[in-house]
Symmetry: C2
Subunit: 170 residues, 2 copies
């Protein structure tokens, strides 16, 4: 297969030439069917939202996944590692590493279960509760508020409902 240099034009003519053999550098790529794929669009939107989340919560150094764990521990104190990991869909080795990180920052603590010595119960520490409270405020005021502004409340509700439907019924 030979590849030759062609003109770098974004015009239809240029695109046709590019499609023949080798395309010019610098011009935007054609997404084609990709832009119609729900999975691709979901992934791009999710990456953008996670990026913005990280920026908004930067003073507290929390990832979206760590924030989810803190929220879940707060609502469900004393549940074990497996239950929290399963609920969030996080694989066990990844979850253990994440807990190590949170525990080393004194945000949560693992305790041996009283009825099953092999099992660890998870609890937020006072510092964990305080960091979570600050994170919630940052997320609401900076991240979710801007999303609401972009989409409008009605669309945001519709979007959330469709996403939940995909996650639970698809």
């Amino acid at each position: 297969m030979t590849v030759s240099k062609t003109a770098s034009a974004g015009s239809d003519k240029g695109r046709k030439e590019a499609a023949d053999d080798a395309a010019g550098e610098g011009t935007a790529l054609q997404l084609g069917e990709l832009s119609e794929l729900l999975g691709y669009s979901l992934k791009r939107a999710q990456l953008r939202i996670f990026e913005d989340f990280l920026r908004c919560v930067a003073p507290l150094q929390l990832t979206p996944a760590q924030f989810s764990v803190l929220l879940l521990l707060d609502k469900n104190p004393g549940r074990n590692q497996t239950e929290i990991a399963n609920t969030l869909g996080i694989l066990r080795p990844n979850f253990v590493a994440m807990l190590d990180g949170l525990e080393s920052r004194d945000l949560c603590t693992r305790m041996r279960s009283t009825n099953d010595r092999r099992s660890h119960m998870l609890l937020l520490t006072d510092k964990g509760r305080s960091v979570l409270a600050r994170a919630k405020k940052l997320v609401a005021a900076k991240h979710e508020a801007r999303l609401n502004e972009l989409l409008g409340p009605a669309n945001r509700t519709a979007l959330l409902s469709m996403l939940t439907r995909i996650a639970t019924e698809f």
Copy 2:
């Protein structure tokens, strides 16, 4: 990453019990604010969709990211590694590893650029084109068709438009 169904299984009774202190095992956890967070719902929906995609395309052993690369190479033959990786938002080391995998299966090929010897141009092979064609059929017939059925065409269009808006304007 696997997605557990636990999160969607919460009965009201289970939720009340979990709200006590050290809650009983086996009952569903309370998601609390998590279920209202767009980022969390996006991630869950995206994981579910990727899981289904993998299942539908299993005969061809393609991940969603590999499928995206093949689609993009097909539409934009001869573009370089950096352009494809940037367009898909894939980090360079991850992209190089992915290309190694695709090339070892004879689905695409890297060629030194004629105008920049440090740059690699990417092209689908004949086998790559044929696998892509089969993958497109599986995705359309099994994956996207079922998503269409779940959401309805109008909702699907609205969802795609909101996701694209988040990815490009947020």
